[in-house]
Symmetry: C2
Subunit: 309 residues, 2 copies
């Protein structure tokens, strides 16, 4: 038996043909055509699936279905309220894709789907309960409970980047609130905290010699023991570890997966998060493993495929 | 078709015979026998179910199953890690109850099961995604996602009373951490904050004339406009509303249900929580209704029955 996992991004659509045991048979990409309010995207997906089925000589009865990850909130019925990066308004994604392909179809938010991928075949393989946090330009997240995506009422389940964890914050988040996790733990947030620390003291730091500071610079300085960068990252760890402690009291995960560009900092970052997490987590959750995501950009196609199994 | 919903407490076992549409046919109680490490509890439950089946002349084939709520962490497999109030260590509750009754059996943590009850037939009837918070001596909670209990890896899903929301707190929580939601929003927490406020100022307050302050006194003073009590409850609302905002970013509920003794304060309490919740919740979740639980002590038997449907 086979299934398809599709990850729709703003530029390309990543596609995967899987065996239902999770073996990736083949992966490929097609461009995301956003003309006419993105109306070609799902037909393009259906076409590339049909082509692959023909090319491989697969009988449609051998295909369990197709799952798709979408950059925007998707509810449990597989409906998008909106997906601004695709120029979509409301769209019953699963229903449309099922009609276009003649296959069982499921849809989920891309970050939630990536979490399911990591829970299936990635860093948390075999875990039924997972919190995944993606530290990129923003902070995304996905929650898996009993093997299923927590989509929520509006598809905003796992929007942990906008968990408001600091009521004293005066700077505004893109979402309109102030004090969101994203303002501290994203690449953007790390740079913001570093610039603030540099402005607030005249302390020596390798970051003073850096022309245009990026998160990687702060992380490298942290790893090399630069005192100011260590202090900045300790604040990041305190905010992120503390937030993960709260999330763990809600969903009690088997594992916490850290993904996204910032996670390339590796074990020193994990150690930092763990130090603060253990301080604040509920006793039963204190020893929950915190691990780096392992599927990279393929997490989406794995998770999408898993949705239909 | 029928099903049984059982809610095991430290003193009594509440039992309900339901039709599978949610109609409560009959409810009754039996004592919780805790002798010999609580080994009679499940056999007693099986016996009272068998007696009820005989008394009503019900054919066992007409019984969909029996669900049971237990005061302690229960994982998704229906196993108790421990239930200190019943003197239980590890016990595969669902399996044992199924063997004893010859019926399909499910088990869940009592607070999670109560949340399922409120989501099924209570204040959040028909909602698939619910956060329930029970403000009693402590703060309990239960999370329903896509109609199912979020049990978590160790059965600690929904342990939101121990979400650590104030890193500056110096007083210790019963769990060993400092800064848990329970330290502010439980009946005990409200009294603690009131006593602290009274000690920190000489401001006039009706609470100064109260011999032994209980949460109800603080809530009554709050409702009557006593300035100190209003300030105390505003801190409670800030902590609880803020925490609910974080939880909502994790699970995106259709409704938030407030139960427990403190919830008897009614609409003024809801207004207070809502005021702070709206400040901190993610945009998509800001209008999520916050409602008072409606099933009272019956929430557990309703939720337990729903588990097997």
């Amino acid at each position: 038996m086979y299934c398809f996992g599709i990850d729709v991004g703003g530029t390309t659509v990543k596609c995967g043909l899987f065996q239902t045991d999770g073996t990736l048979v083949e992966k490929w990409e097609i461009p995301t055509r956003k003309e006419n309010k993105g109306e070609y995207i799902l037909p393009d997906v259906a076409e590339t699936i049909q082509n692959k089925i023909s090319e491989k000589g697969i009988d449609k009865a051998e295909v369990a279905g197709v799952g798709v990850g979408i950059p925007g909130p998707i509810n449990a019925q597989g409906e998008a309220a909106c997906a601004v990066n695709l120029y979509w308004g409301f769209r019953p994604v699963a229903k449309e894709l099922s009609e276009l392909t003649g296959l069982t179809a499921k849809a989920g938010n891309d970050a939630n789907v990536a979490a399911l991928g990591e829970a299936w075949k990635g860093a948390a393989a075999g875990s039924q309960n997972v919190i995944m946090v993606t530290l990129g330009t923003g902070v995304g997240g996905g929650i898996i409970s009993d093997g299923r995506i927590v989509a929520g009422a509006h598809g905003a389940g796992g929007e942990i980047g906008h968990a408001n964890i600091c009521h004293e914050e005066t700077a505004a988040c893109n979402c309109g609130n102030s004090g969101c996790l994203e303002q501290y733990a994203s690449a953007t947030g790390i740079v913001r905290l570093a610039k603030k620390a540099l402005a607030e003291s005249s302390e020596d730091s390798v970051l003073r010699n850096t022309e245009s500071i990026e998160a990687k610079d702060v992380l490298d300085a942290f790893k090399s023991g630069d005192a100011l960068a260590v202090r900045v990252m300790d604040e990041v760890g305190e905010k992120l570890g503390g937030a993960l402690g709260i999330f763990a009291a809600v969903v009690d995960p088997d594992a916490i997966v850290i993904g996204g560009g910032v996670s390339k900092a590796g074990q020193p970052l994990i150690n930092l998060i763990e130090k603060h997490y253990k301080k604040y987590a509920f006793s039963l959750c204190k020893d929950t493993p915190i691990v780096i995501a392992s599927l990279g950009n393929d997490a989406g196609i794995y998770g999408a495929a898993k949705m239909v199994l």
